[in-house]
Symmetry: C2
């Protein structure tokens, strides 16, 4: 199977799994469920589920088991986008080519949508997974919670808030992104590996890969934000510069940022060496993330 076919397959099954996991709009409270579905379904590249499935494939994990942590991570990601777009945060009106949740519904609903999507993530991952020891599943939940909380993604958002209008060093910018984007991307990879009962040493290699991929993703995002158009992105372009936010492009310049992305890609490939052919999809994903710049 070639990469685009594999990718389309994972995206399709993720969409189906999200569709089943999210409560129906027929269930009360219907407007909340409607807004949750609006914010999650029918959009997004599903990068985190792709990473989760690709990491699971290294250890022969079952796809239907991998769907569960994939959904959980994607729900956390979706909640963070809904809250991030709120007027008191980035105040954005466009996401994945559609009006943001608070624009389409209202602010109070968007607040509750984010809250309930986060809960839904932990709900999904706390249902007994077939073939996974409950003790390992607890570790998976703890991994997701640690990656999402004040020492992970939410903490990264707080650092991001504090950074607006500040002059950051590359080191400080990296610290912010390791939390804001990197932590959840790392969780996606490691959760996939958990489904294949990966051993600690393999986890360490994958952790290195994931750390590189997490930064790579952000560097590429900054390049895209600076260079692409709103139509291509499906979200407001150039908004980091407009918001006076430090980015890899604003600190390093576009040329240097692209060189950094090439280096990160190489490091990611190197980290996968111990896995040989079984890590094919992880290699392809590293290339895919960079290819978005061209």
């Amino acid at each position: 199977m070639n990469f685009p076919t594999w990718m389309a397959g994972v995206q399709q099954r993720t969409e189906a799994a999200l569709e089943t996991t999210l409560p129906s709009s027929e269930l009360a409270p219907g407007r909340l469920h409607d807004a949750m579905r609006y914010s999650v379904l029918g959009g997004g590249k599903r990068v985190r589920p792709l990473l989760c499935h690709a990491a699971g494939a290294v250890f022969g994990a079952d796809s239907s088991v991998l769907d569960v942590p994939s959904v959980a991570v994607e729900l956390i990601h979706a909640y963070s986008l809904v809250h991030d777009d709120l007027p008191c945060m980035d105040d954005d009106v466009l996401r994945r080519g559609k009006p943001t949740c608070h624009v389409e519904f209202d602010e109070a609903t968007a607040l509750l949508v984010g809250d309930a999507l986060q809960t839904q993530a932990f709900n999904a991952l706390s249902k007994h997974l077939p073939g996974i020891a409950p003790a390992r599943q607890l570790d998976m939940l703890n991994l997701l919670a640690t990656a999402s909380g004040s020492r992970g993604m939410a903490g990264g958002q707080a650092i991001d808030l504090a950074a607006v209008g500040q002059q950051l060093t590359v080191g400080e910018l990296e610290f912010m992104h390791i939390h804001k984007t990197g932590a959840l991307i790392r969780a996606a990879v490691l959760l996939g590996a958990h489904c294949g009962e990966a051993l600690p040493e393999a986890m360490e290699h994958l952790g290195r890969y994931a750390n590189r991929i997490g930064l790579l993703f952000q560097v590429v995002d900054d390049i895209l934000d600076a260079e692409a158009s709103t139509a291509t992105l499906g979200k407001t372009a150039g908004k980091d510069a407009a918001a006076n936010k430090p980015t890899y492009v604003s600190i390093l310049g576009a040329r240097e940022a692209k060189a950094m992305s090439a280096k990160l890609r190489q490091d990611a490939h190197d980290a996968l060496e111990p896995f040989g052919e079984s890590a094919l999809r992880l290699h392809e994903l590293a290339d895919f993330i960079v290819a978005r710049t061209f």
Copy 2:
């Protein structure tokens, strides 16, 4: 040990457990951790932890194990208060006698505080609990997530939003409160029982008790909101009437609401009959919740 001494003991150990669970303000991002601690520590009656410990005591559960679900439930409760007080929701400036989180810090920080407190709850409950089978702990996590999400507490908030200015029947009001307040109170009781490895039949009796207590709590809250002063409550009094929100007092009148609370208390006591003396603290808590009106 008399009830006030027992209660003070549980409140004290809950405070200590929350203190240890919440990340230190010394850790980055310091301002976020500071705001999380501000919103959780040094206030609140800790009704949910009291219920959790009282239910655990029926089955001889270990207090130090009971601290963990107690903390998890209290963190969920605290997150809901922080988000509930935001300008796009109840827009309240006073909570537990102090400025609300978004007033003391800022809106974006309060949003992230609520987000991170929710994550922290699942983080705490996903650490391996000594003496609890991991499979049971997964069930406990799923119970908490179900009680907190769109079909529980967050859903209740959404119904509450939609109810402003509406004429509700007692039945509709009850449906709202079963979600908004009742679900998490029920979770507190059942999580405590899980720590004592309670059997399904016992869970059923406790579930009945918890449902009555959940409504009782809300009826009493409505009576207090209508009759007490802001100074006594430590939060803005009379705000439901001011916000044109339906309450038991506005629908039934104060006299009828008090009769309803007496009936709910009796039902709660009756549900505990199978447990005899071992349910002493649960009996006392039912009386304590009503006594707040006098």
